[in-house]
């Protein structure tokens, strides 16, 4: 491979992706067969199986990693793959067949929208991760790559993200082991696709095919969803597990049997393995279970406690490995959060304050009017809820259909369990989002149940009389889908051209990740025993030398030093041979120096203790000299 961790063409990752889907589906069907789950819409059953299968594969990879077997991972993956393929061949999906009806024009259009959107996202995902896949290059892909180099999953004291629950990152790890980042990113696309399938499977049996397709299409129409489907983040994985949990809960609520409640618990275990904030949805669904079990007399025969245990125990057991590992390594199961109460290694009160300040900086404040206006603000001013204000249409955007249609669905369908449950799960999630951190992508999991409400609202206006109302609604919804598609095409052109071979991967990366040339130079020229500290930069995925982050933990701090001597002492203490400093960091240091303030980095440069050995676009690679 010319570019680290990157397949030279899309054929291998696509082929392995199909094998991976089949394996996950089969593993999930084995789980559902073991639980003797019956009933449910076929699409929902397929979605549940896929989610359960990815969960099993993720936990398997975690176990192999913790036992130090990552060098054998490509071979060890044969076991779950074969098991999964057996499951696909031997077990049918179950749930009965839906009656076949002739497809309407609306359904054809919606299927076409979903298909084209999925294809664009697939071609985008297969291109190398660019600079805007910030978190992927920093830890979602980078930490698994480091662990593969180590041969095991071990403690990275300088990267607090690596101590988060990392269920979906285990799939990225498996993908990097057998193929590369293209396959890894396809697993995030899969999570988005399974979310759409879940929404379809939730809505179709209750409101028909068109409503089901609308729910999936509204979710997929959000530019933030389409963007996430092409990068290696984990928000779509969280949306998938929470949507599946909701679908399973509804199946239980409507009489498909207690085993669906256990499936809900399993899905919540997956969600808690992606992010600790899934606890909000877990508590909401547990409370809903308690209320339902107490309200309906027939349920009292088996006991309210039994039903709570069905949902809680699988969730806790499946989530436990992540929080136990983090507790054993850091002293804090939710590290680095709740630092004031729970503490944690290589963290500090100052870092905790800075982290919280950054989270509080997103959004438009926490007053009551802003809470009430949040859905409007998110739709009209999405750039206020993200990092990239210059591209509001692309990265930070929901599109109009949630705001336009969900209130109608909520008002019209409030008596329906689907609507109430969806509104409760979405509402509590958004309330927590409002309080904790108002970044748009953190609201993404709530978009799934809101898409259900929007679909019901759409069905209503599309069927309303007179014909002028129907036509106007059709034009507006169609316009929103067309614009969504256009935004997706426009923002993905470079990636699609790269995947199709019209542009080389190197040429694409040079434009999409301006820092890449410096990483490539380092890979080609630094001695193998080098150890690099990234300063003002975290996107180290493409660097093929051991590296650490500076200033993101107390393990290595270079910005808060007592002069050049102190800086060098800290670097030597950690065995750092080189610094890779971002242009932003260097410009900030230069401004301090020009203002007459002391800057340890520039002082060290002046004394010859640091030497610039390569520069690229304002970023610099410096050699640490002397002992």
């Amino acid at each position: 491979m010319t570019i680290p961790w990157t397949e030279p063409n899309p054929i291998l990752p696509l082929a392995l992706f199909l094998v991976g889907i089949a394996a996950c589906l089969g593993l999930g069907r084995l789980v559902m067969h073991a639980l003797r789950v019956t009933g449910g819409d076929p699409a929902l059953r397929t979605a549940v199986a896929l989610a359960a299968g990815t969960l099993m594969l993720g936990l398997y990879t975690l176990a192999v990693g913790l036992l130090g077997g990552l060098r054998l991972l490509p071979y060890l993956l044969v076991i779950p793959t074969v098991l999964g393929l057996v499951g696909v061949v031997a077990l049918r999906g179950g749930g009965g067949a839906s009656p076949r009806r002739e497809r309407t024009n609306t359904q054809t259009v919606l299927l076409g929208f979903l298909g084209v959107t999925g294809l664009i996202c697939l071609l985008t995902a297969l291109a190398p991760a660019g600079g805007n896949d910030w978190d992927g290059l920093s830890y979602h892909l980078a930490a698994p790559a480091i662990w593969l180099g180590h041969g095991r999953i071990d403690f990275l004291p300088w990267d607090h993200h690596s101590n988060f629950p990392f269920l979906h990152e285990m799939l990225y790890l498996a993908a990097l082991a057998v193929s590369g980042q293209g396959l890894a990113k396809l697993f995030h696309l899969l999570a988005g696709a399974v979310t759409c399938l879940t929404l379809f499977g939730m809505v179709r049996p209750r409101h028909g095919m068109t409503a089901g397709l609308l729910a999936a299409a509204v979710f997929a129409s959000a530019p933030i969803v389409a963007w996430e489907a092409g990068v290696a983040f984990s928000d779509l994985a969280l949306a998938m597990y929470l949507a599946v949990a909701l679908g399973c809960w509804l199946a239980w609520r409507e009489g498909s049997g207690d085993r669906w409640l256990a499936l809900c618990g399993i899905a919540l275990g997956g969600a808690l393995g992606v992010k600790v904030t899934a606890g909000v949805a877990a508590v909401t669904l547990a409370a809903m279970t308690l209320a339902r079990a107490r309200a309906v007399p027939s349920h009292r025969k088996a006991g309210v406690g039994y039903r709570l245990a069905l949902i809680a125990l699988p969730a806790l057991v499946l989530a436990l490995p992540w929080y136990l590992k983090t507790y054993l390594w850091t002293g804090n199961p939710v590290y680095p959060f709740l630092y004031d109460t729970l503490g944690g290694r290589w963290w500090s009160a100052a870092l905790a304050r800075g982290y919280r300040a950054e989270q509080l900086g997103f959004g438009m404040g926490r007053s009551l009017p802003m809470l009430l206006l949040a859905p409007v603000n998110l739709t009209l001013l999405p750039a206020m809820f993200g990092n990239l204000p210059e591209h509001p249409l692309i990265y930070n955007s929901l599109g109009p259909l949630f705001l336009a249609l969900a209130p109608l669905g909520l008002i019209a369908g409030w008596r329906q369990p689907l609507v109430r449950a969806g509104a409760l799960v979405a509402g509590t999630w958004l309330l927590a989002w409002f309080i904790l951190c108002q970044h748009l992508r953190y609201a993404l999991p709530a978009l799934a149940p809101v898409a259900v409400l929007a679909a019901l609202g759409a069905v209503g206006v599309l069927a309303a009389r007179p014909g002028r109302v129907r036509l106007t609604a059709r034009v507006l919804i169609g316009l929103a889908l067309v614009i969504s598609l256009a935004v997706n095409v426009w923002s993905s052109t470079a990636q699609v051209r790269t995947t199709l071979g019209l542009v080389s991967q190197e040429e694409y990366l040079a434009a999409a990740f301006p820092e890449y040339p410096l990483f490539a130079w380092a890979n080609a020229n630094l001695p193998p025993e080098s150890r690099v500290a990234l300063v003002g930069e975290t996107r180290g995925f493409y660097l093929q030398r051991p590296y650490v982050w500076a200033d993101h933990s107390t393990w290595l701090e270079v910005s808060d030093t007592q002069g050049a001597q102190d800086l060098l002492r800290r670097l030597h203490h950690r065995g750092i041979t080189h610094l890779l400093a971002s242009s932003a960091y260097l410009q900030s240091a230069m401004r301090r120096a020009q203002a007459g303030n002391e800057d340890a980095l520039f002082e060290a440069l002046e004394r010859g203790r640091l030497r610039v050995i390569q520069e690229s676009r304002g970023n610099a690679l410096l050699e640490v000299r002397g002992g």
């Binding site: 739709t379 204000p389 210059e390 509001p392 599109g399 206006v461 106007t472």
Partner: protein
């Protein structure tokens, strides 16, 4: 809007009006932001 209870004409028109308003406002607001009219509010880094 379930078949069992047909909403009134006013309700139907209000629903459509809301859809028109929401869709239009969404795109107008983002185009205006993109053209810099909201730069005074301050974006993120």
């Amino acid at each position: 809007m379930t078949p069992e209870r047909r909403p009134s004409r006013i309700a139907r028109l209000a629903a459509l009006g809301w859809v028109v308003l929401a869709v239009a406002a969404c795109y107008v607001a983002q185009v205006v932001y993109f053209l810099g009219a909201y730069s005074g509010l301050g974006g993120r880094r």
